[in-house]
C-alpha cells in the first residue's frame, strides 16, 4: 500500500519544494519506489530543483484530462533509481485540478509506488487543499519565525478538518514538523525562535531540523537535490530526516553553535 505524504507549509518560500526533492530522493536512495508530484500548477518549480526541466513533455493536468497517460508523463530521475517526478503544468491554473481527477491519478500511482510525495503550493486555497486532501502523512515545513509558525498552525488545522481522512472519520493524518533554515547562532542571539519554541507552539512531533546553509542554494541552482551533497550539513540533516520518516531513531544534529577552534579564531576561518 502506497503512503501518500504531503509536504506543506501555508507560507511560501520556506522550503517545501527543496524538502520534497530532498526527501523524495532520500526515500528512493533507501530503496523505496517514490514519485514526487508537483501540485503547484502554474508555478512549476520542482522540475528545476530536480534538474529535469528540459525533459518535461506532458504534465499532471494532461494526465487528469486524459490527454496523456502516466507512463508518458512520469519523468525518471537520472541520478537515483526508483525515483520519478510528475511535473505541474506551467500554462494552467489551480482550478485545472479536480478531486476526482487527482484521486484517479493517485490510485493509479499507488499500484506501483511505495511513496507518493505531494509538493503543495503555498497558501490555503484550492491548490493546497487538493495537495493535502488525500494524504496519509504530512510534513509541515516551517521556518523558525513567527509568521511561518502561525501559517503552519493554520495548515495543521486544515489537515485535521479538511482532509479525506477527517471527512471519512478515519485516523487523523500523521503530522511531522520539519524546521528549515535553522540558524543556531541567531537563535542564541534571540533573533530566531528555537526548536523548543516552535515545538511548544505547534505541539507536533519533530521530524527534522535543517540548518541554514549555502549548500541548499547551490543545490537549487544546479538542479541537484541537496540530500545528494553528503558533505554538507543540510544534506546530512535531510538524510537523518528521511531515516526518521522511515521510523528509525536518529539523534538530532546541527542544533547548537559550532565551537570555533583556536586556529579558526586566530585566522577567522
Amino acid at each position: 500500500m502506497a503512503k501518500i505524504i504531503v509536504v506543506t507549509s501555508g507560507k511560501g518560500g520556506v522550503g517545501k519544494t527543496t524538502s520534497s526533492a530532498a526527501i523524495g530522493t532520500g526515500l528512493a536512495l533507501k530503496g523505496h519506489k517514490t514519485v514526487i508530484i508537483d501540485f503547484d500548477i502554474g508555478l512549476r518549480n520542482l522540475d528545476l530543483i530536480m534538474g529535469c526541466e528540459r525533459r518535461v513533455v506532458y504534465d499532471f493536468v494532461n494526465v487528469i484530462n486524459g490527454e496523456a497517460n502516466l507512463k508518458q508523463t512520469l519523468i525518471k530521475d537520472k541520478r537515483t533509481d526508483n525515483l520519478f517526478i510528475l511535473p505541474a503544468s506551467q500554462t494552467r491554473d489551480k482550478d485545472a485540478l479536480t478531486k476526482e481527477g487527482v484521486e484517479r491519478v493517485l490510485n493509479e500511482l499507488a499500484k506501483d509506488f511505495d511513496f507518493i510525495l505531494c509538493d503543495s503550493p503555498a497558501g490555503i486555497e484550492a491548490g493546497a487543499m487538493m495537495a493535502l486532501y488525500f494524504a496519509d502523512e504530512a510534513v509541515v515545513v516551517t521556518n523558525p519565525e513567527v509568521s511561518s509558525v502561525r501559517d503552519s498552525d493554520r495548515i495543521l488545522g486544515m489537515l485535521s478538518s479538511k482532509s479525506r481522512r477527517a471527512e471519512n472519520g478515519q485516523d487523523a493524518i500523521k503530522e511531522h514538523l520539519l524546521l528549515t533554515r535553522y540558524n543556531p547562532e541567531r537563535v542564541e542571539k534571540g533573533e530566531m525562535l528555537s526548536v523548543e519554541d516552535v515545538k511548544e507552539i505547534l505541539s507536533i512531533d519533530l521530524l527534522g531540523v535543517i540548518p541554514e546553509s549555502q549548500a541548499v542554494l547551490n543545490a537549487s541552482n544546479s538542479g541537484q537535490p541537496v540530500i545528494l551533497d553528503t558533505d554538507s550539513d543540510a544534506g546530512q540533516a535531510y538524510l537523518d530526516t528521511v531515516e526518521r520518516l522511515l521510523g528509525e531513531k536518529v539523534p538530532f544534529r546541527f542544533l547548537t553553535v559550532e565551537k570555533k577552534g583556536l586556529l579558526k579564531r586566530i585566522f577567522g576561518g
Partner: protein, 242 residues
C-alpha cells in the same frame, strides 16, 4: 434616515424555580418571607418561575403575583402546569414555560431543610436554567489558527492549546488546559457571571459578556501563567487559577 428595526432573538437566562407543595397565598407568604429573610439581597427583584408539577387546583395567580411584588420578587411564569392551569396562568399574564428535561438534577439551595420539622410543607428554592441544559462541549485536540469553536448555551473545555489566530467562544465558561494564545470569549450571550480559566495565559483577547481586553492589557503578573479571568463590577479582573 435609517429605519428602526425590531429584533427578536432567543437567549438563555438563569432563573430561579420555586417549588412548594402548598400554593395557598398564606403558606407561600409565610415560607417565602422566612426564606428571604436569610438572604434578602440575594433574591431582591429576582425573576422567579413557579413550578406547578403535580398541582391539581388552579392557584390564585393574581394574589400570588401581588404577594411577589410585596416581597420584592418578580413572578415571570409557570412551568410544569397541566393544560387547564396553564391557560389560567396565561390569562393572569404569566408565561407558561417548558420544564427542563433533567429537572431531577436541580440543585437544592435550601440550607434550612434539615432544621425544618415540617419537611413536607417546606419551600424549596432551586436554581436552574428553565430550558434544557446542554452538555459541556469538550474539544480533545488543539484548536489551530483560523479555527473557531462555539459552545452554544453551555461551557467549553479545550484539552489542548488554543493557537494564535484561533477563537474559542462559549455562552458559558471556558476552560483551557493548554496555552491560550488566541481569543477566548465567555458569556457570549451576555452572562456576566461566566469566567475563563486557562493553564497559560498568552491570549490575543479575552472577553466576558462583551467586556474585553487585548493582549497588551494582559501583560504583567499573570502573563504566561495559569490564570482565571472574571468580571467584577463591570471590570475584567485576573486572578490566580488556584
Amino acid at each position: 434616515m435609517s429605519e428602526q428595526t425590531l429584533e427578536l432573538k432567543g437567549s438563555l437566562f438563569p432563573l430561579s424555580v420555586l417549588s412548594c407543595p402548598d400554593l395557598s397565598v398564606a403558606a407561600l407568604q409565610q415560607q417565602l418571607s422566612q426564606k428571604l429573610s436569610q438572604a434578602p439581597a440575594f433574591f431582591y427583584q429576582a425573576p422567579i418561575i413557579l413550578n406547578l408539577t403535580g398541582c391539581q387546583q388552579t392557584p390564585d395567580f393574581i394574589a400570588i403575583k401581588t404577594l411577589f411584588v410585596e416581597l420584592n420578587l418578580v413572578l415571570v411564569g409557570v412551568c410544569g402546569a397541566s393544560n387547564e392551569i396553564k391557560q389560567q396562568a396565561q390569562q393572569a399574564g404569566l408565561a407558561a414555560l417548558q420544564l427542563g428535561k433533567d429537572s431531577k438534577a436541580v440543585k437544592t439551595v435550601d440550607t434550612t431543610a434539615a432544621e425544618n420539622s415540617n419537611a413536607t410543607r417546606q419551600t424549596t428554592v432551586v436554581t436552574n436554567n428553565v430550558s434544557v441544559p446542554m452538555d459541556t462541549k469538550i474539544v480533545e485536540q488543539t484548536v489551530r489558527s483560523g479555527q473557531q469553536v462555539y459552545a452554544k448555551g453551555t461551557d467549553l473545555v479545550i484539552k489542548g492549546t488554543v493557537g494564535a489566530g484561533a477563537e474559542v467562544i462559549a455562552d458559558g465558561n471556558i476552560h483551557i488546559y493548554g496555552t491560550l494564545r488566541g481569543k477566548a470569549i465567555a458569556g457570549a450571550s451576555g452572562d456576566t457571571s461566566k469566567r475563563i480559566f486557562c493553564n497559560n495565559l498568552q491570549a490575543e483577547l479575552v472577553s466576558i459578556a462583551g467586556n474585553y481586553w487585548l493582549s497588551e492589557s494582559l501583560q504583567g503578573e499573570f502573563w504566561s501563567k495559569a490564570a482565571c479571568v472574571k468580571l467584577q463590577d463591570d471590570q475584567l479582573v485576573l486572578a490566580d487559577l488556584v
